[in-house]
Amino acid sequence: MSIRTLHIGRSGLKTASYGIDVTGQNVTNASTEGYVRRRLVQQTRVPHRNEHGVFTGQGVTASAIHRDIDRFASERCFESLGEQSMATTAHESLSVVEANFREGDTAAIADRLDRFFDAATELTSEPSDHGLRLAMRDAGQDLAEAVNRGGKALVESIRRAEDRIQDEITGINKILSDIKVLHERISDSDSVTGPADLMDARDGLTEQLAEKIGVGVDYQANGQLTLMVGGHAIVQEVHVRQLSTSGTSGSLSVKMEAGEGTVSVDAFLKGELGGLIKARDQMAATLASLDTFAEEFVDEINAQHSSGFDAYGVPGLDFFSIPTGATNPAIDMALDTALAADAQMIAAAATPGAEVGDGANLEAILDVENTKLFSGGTQNSRDFISSIYSDLGNSIVGFEVDATTHGAIVDDLVSLKDANSKVDLDEEAVSLIQYQAAYQAAARVVTAADELLNELMATVR
């Protein structure tokens, strides 16, 4: 009996010692990022049946170290993190672009457009005045430069967004490979000694992945995770699919391995990558609108200008030029080179008499200001430029609102998750006292057994 008591005491000592280890681990990792608190699961050892058929206890054992994670809150948290990260990235990227479209700035396209028509209006008062002609020419030049600047800023921002997408892909694939390695180790690990730390590391990587691409998360009963992008599993146990890019500048697409080939996941991506794609798409749409403005506006102004006559009585040239086949008319819009060199070539007159006071063609040019050239004949040039600005602004505000909303959701979910998973030092202090007492009690059992054995040995001697 005493020998068994010794074993029972020893099991108590060992289990209490485990408990102190787990508590110590919790306490020391209280501020470790991503650490999920552990709880020792104790279990009665299989009882012994003696020669009389009576079952007697064999003590206690530590059956597992449980990782206190709220799966539901964690899954939702990862998903919301992807949404928040997407909105934040898109908001930040577009805000940088918007710096080139500042409001009320004299360099703004809308302001330059006003000044171009104002200069033409002023020239009607004195069509022969060289100073006023120079002013109209310069206003045209300034307008073209403002459109160029906007176009170049958009092209450059699209390039930067796509460069960043490509840079991120390398890091994302590294995270995916690391998750694969961790899943392999988790499946090989002992349930008491290993997996919790590996799962913490895996969850840390999952959080990074959620921030990068946004993933749907599903905790499996075996402790592994299935991560989804759209309807596609990017991680399933030890199987992961790598990402790659294809396409040319302005239409770069993110692909995911699928069977022998790849599948485009642009539409499903969230996180930073999704945000960059959304921002890139908005920039591309803004650029396309600006190109449309440049093309239509230049065509119309040129048509009117060339129907008039310049100060030499010669039929007017084009006022602006855009090279044939230009990829981005907004970038290539410029003042006609001959007109830029000689403001007398502004075709102010409607008749070829070269009369100095003939400014009738200027009035036709001024009419372009209110001609509804855009959006199926519903918007004039200023309305269209305003809509480009407000479209970009609306998009930025939309992403800002999304970022704030999802940020609040993430905060709530993190609080929920932390309530279960974060180390509570008060609770750990109680556990420590508890395990310490258990250890002392088990030691007392061993001492009692030892005394009984000594008593017995003395009797035998």
């Binding site: 306490v27 805000s95 918007e98 710096a99 479209f101 500042r102 409001e103 009320g104 809308a110 302001d111 457009l113 006003d114 000044r115 028509f117 104002d118 209006t121 002023e122 009607t124 008062s125 004195e126 069509p127 022969s128 008749t351 008499g353 009369e355 100095v356 006071g357 003939d358 400014g359 009738a360 009035e363 001024l366 200023r382 309305d383 430029i385 305003s386 809509s387 600005y389 407000s390 479209d391 970009l392 602004g393 609306n394 930025i396 505000v397 800002e400 704030t404 940020g407 905060d411 993190v414 030092l425 008060d426 202090a429 109680v430 420590l432 006292i433």
Partner: protein
């Protein structure tokens, strides 16, 4: 601590935005500050810019039309004097020598009339139509200008003439220089019926000049009205622009102070949350 980090980031950007608002005095510094109002703001700003140009053009037009009006009044006076000369020497009591002396006076009236129809404003011959870089009338009184009149835009769909086709305005229904020339010829020839005939021509020329004065006066009225309209519109539009674009500095400042107070409070709460749990007591 995490909550403080996040709230400080969000407060930081809100404080920066308010700082910008206060320092620029503008609520809208980029489209995303109020995308819905951008189109309205652009329209108001465009109209405001337009009024500035309209006022500039109208002021210049007024100055030109003032000069034109003065020239026509002087021309009217000159033709009236010519008429008086004709009436005086139509009287049979004057002899040939006296009429010959009067012919010299008519030459002077001719030169005055010629000078007046070639009046310039800012190096523009006002009565030469759109060909205002050359004299409207030659030394013989022949019209050299254009039959088109220059116009200046002084409002939305509003133009005023800033120059006149002399052949229409001054000599459309008459020939003032022909009349003065005929008077001189008749005076030199001591030709009473000729003088009387010239008098009729001068009367017709006077009627034309009076009509011209009415037309110039009408253009001037339009120009003054346009200037006044642009001026009052400018005031209205400036107010409209301010209400859309400008920030209420007092309100923005109080919001800024409130945000900073919130931030300080968050810091205070966090510093009070330092661990003081069970471990410190066992």
């Amino acid at each position: 601590m995490e909550a403080l980090k996040q709230s400080s980031q969000s407060m930081g950007s809100r404080i920066a935005k308010l700082n910008e608002e206060v320092s620029t005095g503008k609520r809208i510094n980029r489209a995303s500050d109020d995308p819905g109002r951008i189109s309205q703001l652009h329209n108001v700003r465009q109209q405001l810019n337009n009024q500035g140009v309209y006022m500039k053009n109208a002021t210049q037009a007024e100055q030109l039309l003032n000069v034109a009006d003065t020239a026509l009044q002087d021309l009217h006076t000159t033709l009236s004097e010519t008429r008086e000369l004709a009436i005086q020497f139509a009287n049979e009591s004057y002899n040939a020598d006296q009429r010959s002396d009067a012919a010299i006076a008519s030459d002077s009236l001719f030169d005055r009339a010629l000078s007046l129809v070639n009046t310039q404003f800012n190096e523009r011959y006002i009565f030469a139509g759109t060909a205002y870089d050359d004299k409207a009338y030659s030394s013989t009184g022949t019209y050299n200008g254009s039959t088109d009149s220059p116009e200046t835009v002084v409002g939305d769909d509003l133009k005023v003439k800033t120059g006149f086709d002399g052949s229409d305005l001054l000599t459309g229904g008459s020939d003032m220089f022909g009349a003065i020339t005929d008077l001189r010829t008749a005076l030199n020839a001591d030709d009473t019926p000729g003088i009387i005939a010239a008098l009729d021509e001068i009367d017709a020329a006077l009627v034309d000049v009076e009509k011209g004065m009415v037309e110039v006066g009408g253009e001037m009225r339009r120009s003054i009205d346009a200037n006044g309209l642009a001026s009052s519109l400018e005031v209205e539009l400036r107010e409209a622009k301010a209400s859309i674009e400008e920030t209420d500095v007092v309100d923005a400042y109080s919001r800024l102070v409130q945000l900073q107070t919130n931030f300080d409070a968050a810091m205070q709460v966090t510093s009070m949350q330092r661990y003081s749990g069970l471990f410190t007591r066992i």
